[in-house]
Symmetry: C2
Subunit: 357 residues, 2 copies
């Protein structure tokens, strides 16, 4: 099967994904037998172009880099909005990377419903729809016999969801806990050196780790969304945002951090999901951990997730939690995982491909 | 498809696997739609029994616990050796858990070839065959259109191979490094407290972390086998044991460890695979790491593996590296991964199963 991809949203993540496809196309075909074209890109600001036989990705990226709209692409149909791009193109895989809205999930939810109803696979890094509407969307995917994958919604391309759902298949997960937001982890790490919250926030904004309006990160909304995804997708819960105890890091002073330090403790914004009396519970809030705790040893923008299980006790994964390429890469992982299932390859790896990796 | 399993070898790992199946059977059916019977068990010491319609696992385990042979099982055919059990039973999945031999790979290699030639899936935790004959066995699996999986050969059930091969699909791995042997990590961790090698070895033997004849662990043979598997399976190499630099920990004195400590360093037995001038290189030997190094912070019997990659920089997984249930569990993971591919399920998860997890 040839994957005909339409990319909805062409911001940082969409561009990162397009870069990876442009660079790795030949290798992906040789190594995994992955055959694809990006046939359409639609972004309300950066323009839209559709070409049935496939776009030249390098050309689309170069237009954006030079500050032009995709409408300047030579050839193809221009100006189709997201809805028309999802429904009327010859695409069979929709990559939904429109901006995240954790309150409404829109426009992501609408895009995803439209794709699934049209029997097109969905790959997304958009946290809103998965955090707010997972069950409904998973049901729609199942009914339409297409895949709905979203590895990049938790810890970017670091395969947290693949680990919990597939690599660890057969395990019973008692609890999931971790550092799910790099911005706040960077701020807390730097504050331990004696800097104030305001100083470090400015530094983080200069380095691109924090947004100009940093509330989604520092008030714990981003961690909350990821906790909801872990609770509802991996642990089988059905939680809504108001079911999760959420607290940001803005109330933590340098003095609090120094006091913790002298107690051999360290503040971390911890996302946590656990079972209690047959129910799934979750929180996203600062916790004082012992410095010898594994989670306390993950500093800076790194993220970490620990699965507390029946058969393996604790299994922990550490990796980057954000970034243009890191998040863009998660979309490729999802595509390759769909491909492996559709390909029905009978062996772990075709040995003729071993030597080329 | 109903999986009809024959277990070849009924030592610790085989029993751990049988325990898990006995306890989780109903849940596995409900959660994953996994339908299975264990139809045969064959062990040269513990006896052999074959029952076409499936054995009662609890009865087989109870016989072993009471010190009886499987020949005492009421009903079924007794006394078939491994070869006959592989070829002549109605099994379609062979679980190969006979003793590991890192020099010859036998009897594992013969068992695996026999199963694959008879178009039966192979799941194994036996390091010898994978370390010594991976390419040949993978080719045979491919030609016979069956699966050959061996998650438990590296870091027991902690999904190191699934992570490198599947969860991280699409990544280019530049280097793999880690602590692959829990026995030596325990010994080195305890020696840092000032105890001698001999003291700690005895302690480890008492705790069941080290064998009476500890050479496979302390001379680095076990780590070497795992390094070969990572090099040849995950990195596409074609290395033989003599291509890998191997050194054990028996030459490390308490004084060496204290000297390292005063330099802010820590000895770890590190398995390492990397690319150099277009070739795959590997080593398994003690290294002095800075104490701030993530690998240096993993102590005791825990194992850790870091993938150094193009898109995600470093991704690290930490988990148990040995144990009856931990290693037995890896076989279930492999079975469920085969099941997912054969089932061709069209959605990430059948939502009707979500609530039951």
């Amino acid at each position: 099967m040839k994957y005909k991809i339409a990319i909805i949203g062409f911001g940082t993540v969409g561009q990162g994904f397009a870069e990876i496809l442009a660079e790795k196309g030949d290798w992906l075909k040789e190594r995994y037998g992955l055959d694809f074209d990006v046939v359409a890109i639609s972004d309300p600001v950066k323009g839209a172009v559709y070409k049935e036989k496939g776009l030249e990705l390098k050309k689309t990226l170069s237009l954006i880099t030079q500050g032009f709209s995709l409408d300047k692409y030579s050839g193809g149909i221009k100006g189709w909005d997201s809805e028309r791009t999802i429904t009327d193109t010859n695409s069979n895989v929709i990559v939904e990377v429109s901006p995240t809205n954790i309150e409404t999930g829109e426009p992501g939810i609408t895009h995803i419903k439209s794709a699934l109803s049209n029997k097109k696979h969905i790959i997304t890094t958009n946290k809103g729809p998965v955090a707010l509407a997972y069950r409904e969307l998973a049901k729609l995917a199942y009914e339409n016999e297409v895949f709905f994958r979203f590895e990049g919604t938790v810890i970017s391309g670091t395969p947290a969801l693949n680990l919990g759902l597939e690599a660890l298949a057969g395990i019973r997960i008692r609890e999931i806990k971790g550092i799910l937001n790099g911005t706040t982890n960077y701020i807390l790490t730097e504050m331990e050196k004696g800097k104030t919250y305001e100083e470090v926030l400015q530094e983080a904004q200069r380095l691109g780790y924090a947004e100009a309006k940093p509330d989604a990160d520092v008030e714990g909304w981003d961690a909350l969304a990821k906790v909801l995804i872990l609770a509802n997708v991996v642990m089988g819960g059905n939680l809504k945002p108001q079911d999760v105890e959420r607290k940001g890091i803005t109330g933590i002073s340098v003095q609090d951090i120094q006091e913790a330090k002298s107690d051999n403790k360290r503040y971390k914004l911890i996302g946590r999901v656990w079972r209690e009396n047959g129910q799934i519970k979750a929180s996203a809030k600062p916790e004082r951990l012992g410095v010898e705790d594994f989670l306390a040893q993950v500093n800076g923008v790194l993220n970490v997730l620990t699965f507390v299980t029946d058969e393996l006790k604790e299994v922990t994964i550490v990796g980057p939690g954000a970034g243009r390429r890191e998040t863009g890469f998660s979309l490729l992982t999802d595509l390759l995982n769909i491909h492996r299932l559709l390909e029905k390859s009978s062996s772990t790896i075709d040995p003729s491909r071993i030597v080329t990796c």
